[in-house]
């Protein structure tokens, strides 16, 4: 299907005031508030538009499978440095950008939004708008393409996007340490202040795993300095990223609590897994949403109700009134009829 067909569908829905639920592979249906509206399948617009390894840029259409993109980059020894979770074989590029989620490498390599270079968007009037571009540095106009990262399809249909990519590190290894939680948080923050090539960390149940990435000599030297036991399995990190590790399997609601990395142990009922050098605390718990959000707030962070059979609260931490007004006005500017994924990010918009 062509871009025009998508534009027509959108114009038609806007005319009728009918809500559209933008959907790729549906692997992130669980994320955000409950989706509603007529499904507009983005997979009909797919394919890698351009990929030039020496430019470190890939441009792809929204319906492109994330797995296809990964494979194409891997052929040239490159990758998406923010290691986005797929959450299923059907994950699409557009869904990945709209969800804005980053994986284990987030603390060292940066988030998805850090790699956004440009995007083409179909807005709520059915217009195709281009922002940013395919170059590394660009300050012409407001940075709208970065705004789309994590917007959960509420501003428009991200038809195409360009991301910066990087060469895969030549060498990686994983170290394992036996460590209680407080000591792990302390060690992770101490290491992060030193020039060590740490590219991922995960603490759970007395065990800390740390991945090192970089030039072989640097990785070797760091491993010697840090100690621990070498385990070297990439599958471990895939299981953390994809939530297939046993920790994520329980029936309780799963919370994603972001805090400043040195934050001490969060005293909440349930089970915790720590990533991103201490900046991300996964929590599986039946604790009341109020209790969890209060604890996050006290730590100067915020809690997302990530996955739950039936969400007992709004998915995202509430915004103050000024920020909420800005959100609504931006939403109205991009989507005057309010048709794109209504309520998915916040009930008010």
């Amino acid at each position: 299907m062509s871009l025009q067909t998508l534009q027509e569908r959108i114009r038609d829905a806007a005319g009728r005031g009918a809500a559209l639920r933008l959907r790729g592979g549906g692997t992130k249906d669980f994320y955000g508030n409950t989706p509603r509206g007529e499904v507009l399948d983005t997979r009909v617009f797919s394919g890698i538009v351009s990929y030039e390894p020496t430019e470190l840029v890939v441009t792809a259409r929204c319906g492109t499978l994330l797995s296809e993109l990964d494979a194409t980059l891997a052929e040239r020894g490159q990758f998406l440095p923010f290691e986005p979770p797929h959450f299923g074989a059907g994950a699409t590029f557009g869904g990945c950008i709209a969800a804005g989620l980053s994986g284990p490498r987030r603390a060292s390599a940066g988030a998805l939004r850090d790699y956004m270079l440009g995007a083409r968007l179909i807005d709520g009037r059915g217009h195709v708008l281009g922002f940013g571009g395919q170059v590394m540095k660009n300050v012409a106009g407001y940075d709208v393409s970065r705004l789309l990262a994590g917007s959960l399809g509420t501003l428009g249909l991200i038809a195409e996007a360009s991301l910066k990519v990087l060469p895969r590190p030549p060498s990686e290894l994983t170290l394992r340490f036996e460590m209680p939680e407080e000591r792990a948080i302390e060690a992770l923050n101490r290491w992060a202040g030193q020039p060590l090539p740490i590219s991922a960390s995960a603490w759970h149940d007395g065990e800390l795993h740390v991945r090192l990435s970089g030039a072989a000599p640097a990785v070797r030297a760091a491993a010697e300095k840090m100690g621990g036991e070498r385990t070297g399995e990439e599958a471990f990190w895939t299981a953390i990223r994809e939530h297939t590790a046993p920790f994520f399997g329980g029936p309780e609601p799963l919370w994603r609590i972001a805090v400043p990395p040195p934050t001490a142990r969060l005293c909440l009922a349930g089970n915790q897994l720590i990533e991103w050098g201490g900046g991300l605390r996964w929590l599986t718990s039946d604790a009341s949403p109020h209790t969890v959000r209060e604890a996050a707030l006290r730590a100067k962070g915020h809690a997302t109700l990530f996955r739950a059979a039936a969400k007992p609260a709004a998915a995202f931490a509430p915004l103050d009134p000024v920020l909420m007004r800005l959100h609504r006005e931006l939403k109205a500017a991009f989507d005057p009829a309010g048709i794109f994924n209504p309520g998915r990010l916040y009930a008010e918009m």
Partner: protein, 466 residues
Amino acid sequence: MLREEEDTRPYECDGLTAYRQVPMVVALPETEEQVQRVLQTCTAMGVPVVPRGAGTGLSGGALPPGNGVLLSMAKFMRIVRVDSRARVAVAQPGVRNAAISEAAAPYGLYYAPDPSSQIACTIGGNVAENSGGVHCLKYGLTVHNVVRVRGFTMSGEAIELGSEAPDAPGYDLLALAIGSEGMLIVVTEVAVKLLPKPQCARVIMASFDDVGKAGQAVADVIAAGIIPAGLEMMDQPATRAVEQFVGAGYDLQAAAILLCESDGTPEEVEDEIARMQAVLERSGAARMTVSRDEAERLRFWSGRKAAFPAVGRISPDYYCMDGTIPRKRLGEILQFIAQMEAKYGLRCPNVFHAGDGNLHPLILFDANDADELRRTELFAAEVLEKCIEVGGTITGEHGVGVEKINQMCVQFQPDELEMFQAVKAAFDPARLLNPGKAVPTLARCAEYGRMHVRGGKLPHAELPRF
């Protein structure tokens, strides 16, 4: 508050001196409450406000309003805290870029973006322009290194964007504010990420007898899977100007030189420098010198960082451009610039953030000669439009300001410009904060007569043309 012309005159322009306007009033607030009151009062009276940092901007972003208030943030000079455990520094917007790294140095940390103007420019100005530096290829721009800002909207509402915890909820308004050229909010506090200082760094100075070859070498380094800590290029007219000024030790026989830096652990650097040398050799480097010690490394960089002032000494005036292009088009653009030098009879040394494809051609002219100024503007416009044509952008890091506002009409179509206006209106419905900068009105574009044409169709054919 400054009202007398002798006091307000120093604020008449920023680093783009071709545009000048003495402001009606200059306000120098010292507290957030005062900033808020100035904004509330101006909103009530419908008076425009232009924020200003150190005034080193190169696109006229801080050009004052003749009928309004220039809001200087120069008194916001405090580093609020350096949290070495969380690797975050919190600074007021008037703090100089370099002062942050100085404050973090005792902890072995630093703030990565290093614009050449870093000893003078402020972190508030950096946020407004999304400034870059010679190490941005590996460490990112301002947007990648600022985690939170606090400030006020034009109507005086307090606002905080981003957070010291990762991935703040909702839209990424922090990304929108960074690079917004002081048009969305007035920033009163900035929290930045600090990084551990690399244990060691070395730079290769590689000479090429042909500019095109140097451009190709840049692509070859990246293709080899190497991301240098810095990758900069200067052509011969630039190295000659610099050498007279700072004596950096550049190869003056070379048509172009590349500075290619590696940083990390000593083992890593040794390994990477060897790999870089092998690639540069294959790409036809005529000569290579690797910095032997920190003093020599800093000397090699001093030349690059002093490029603008050095060029300023060989010509009464110079005009700095800032387009970004896909790296592979470097050779083509250089050829185009050479043609323009002939066409307009003006010299133009070139310095680049080559790794990022960000060009800084410097057109030499004499502002007292009206015709040279006119030719300079035409020269610059042609180069910027060429950048768009090859798939790039009119500004990589200096901003649009008042300077490149006409070229915005070429880079964006009317629908896109209208969306920018709508973003502005969400933050500042009365359009009083730094009005008339960065985003042109459609009427202005029609006047410029160079509308963005996509697919051969003229957009908004119904608009009157002049």
